[in-house]
């Protein structure tokens, strides 16, 4: 699995992402600078990591979404290439038009940095095949703007087409406002695009991949991707 991790000024989770990819896939990703206009030849997976691109100026992810490399990412996604967008990456993907909707300020206006529980809604995507549908995983979040919002028609489409893949839940998988820490519509934590090759999610699976971190629940996402490419090969 040949991956490329994008870096914009202000991104700070690229090393966590590179470590997780190297650990699980056994191959270090290429780090790609925002001003480049091409992805490395033969890239299988593009990762837009978390951080605070351009200091969250204007709107989170708005300026990064217009960087030269994003034209290449859009073309890559149009051809069916897999894109994983985490946290600020999710915000960038929405601003870039790769995914619908917007991440707004958390409903209670606080930056939230702690572990949350996610219910995996389906296991038949390249990103979630390492999990079982209905499984609950524990993954950290660290964001001030993670409150997913879209118009009623978009939400109905996402739900109708099964494109909500992660939802904030209780440890036993109950979706309840008390466990929806940022107020996201329908407790949405992660969605895929229509074609199913772009995943955006607010939580950080890359931060729960080895015993030292106290939890390895995030590992399944990377292991699943690796398995997807092994089967395709």
């Amino acid at each position: 699995m040949k991956s490329a991790v994008l870096v914009f000024p202000g991104i700070n989770r690229e090393r966590d992402m590179a470590r997780a990819l190297t650990l699980v896939a056994g191959r270090a990703p290429t780090i790609v600078w925002h001003a480049d206009s091409k992805l490395p030849t033969g890239t299988d997976l593009v990762v837009i990591p978390g951080g605070f691109s351009y200091g969250d100026y204007l709107r989170c992810g708005a300026i990064a979404a217009r960087a030269p490399i994003m034209d290449a990412v859009r073309a890559f996604a149009t051809e069916g290439g897999l894109v994983l967008a985490v946290c600020n990456g999710f915000q960038i993907a929405c601003e870039a038009g790769l995914l619908p909707g917007v991440l707004m300020r958390n409903a209670q206006l606080r930056f939230i940095c702690r572990d949350v529980y996610l219910r995996v809604e389906r296991s038949d995507t390249p990103f979630t095949r390492g999990y079982n549908a209905g499984q609950v995983i524990r993954v950290p979040v660290a964001h001030g703007e993670g409150n997913y919002i879209a118009d009623g028609e978009t939400i109905a489409r996402l739900e109708g087409e099964g494109r909500v893949v992660f939802r904030y839940s209780s440890p036993d998988g109950i979706v309840d406002p008390n466990w929806n820490h940022n107020g996201a519509m329908n407790a949405i934590a992660g969605i895929i695009n229509e074609r199913g090759n772009v995943l955006g999610m607010m939580p950080h699976p890359e931060n729960h991949v080895e015993a030292l971190m106290g939890c390895t629940d995030g590992r399944g996402l990377f292991a699943g991707l690796l398995d997807h490419f092994k089967r395709a090969a």
Binding site: L58, R59, A62, I63, R66, E95, P100, G101, V102, M104, R105, N106, A107, Q108, L109, N147, I149, A150, D151, G183
Partner: protein
Amino acid sequence: MRARVTVTLKSGILDPQGKAIEGALKSLGVSGVASVRQGKVFDIEIEAADRAGAEAVLKGAAEKLLANTVIENYRIELTR
């Protein structure tokens, strides 16, 4: 030419920051505030031959970057 682009949230979009400001005004004892919505103002100096040209440039700027039209509306005013 000088212009002002005002970006505001569409009605129906939850505005937690506006709500917090509204709450703060109430706790300060400012009476008569029914509701607050927060927005952004961009003052832009623009080089264009005429108003129509300037408006076209500003419309492009607003659509491409200044506003996220999924959740925001924008208004362009040319001041001189």
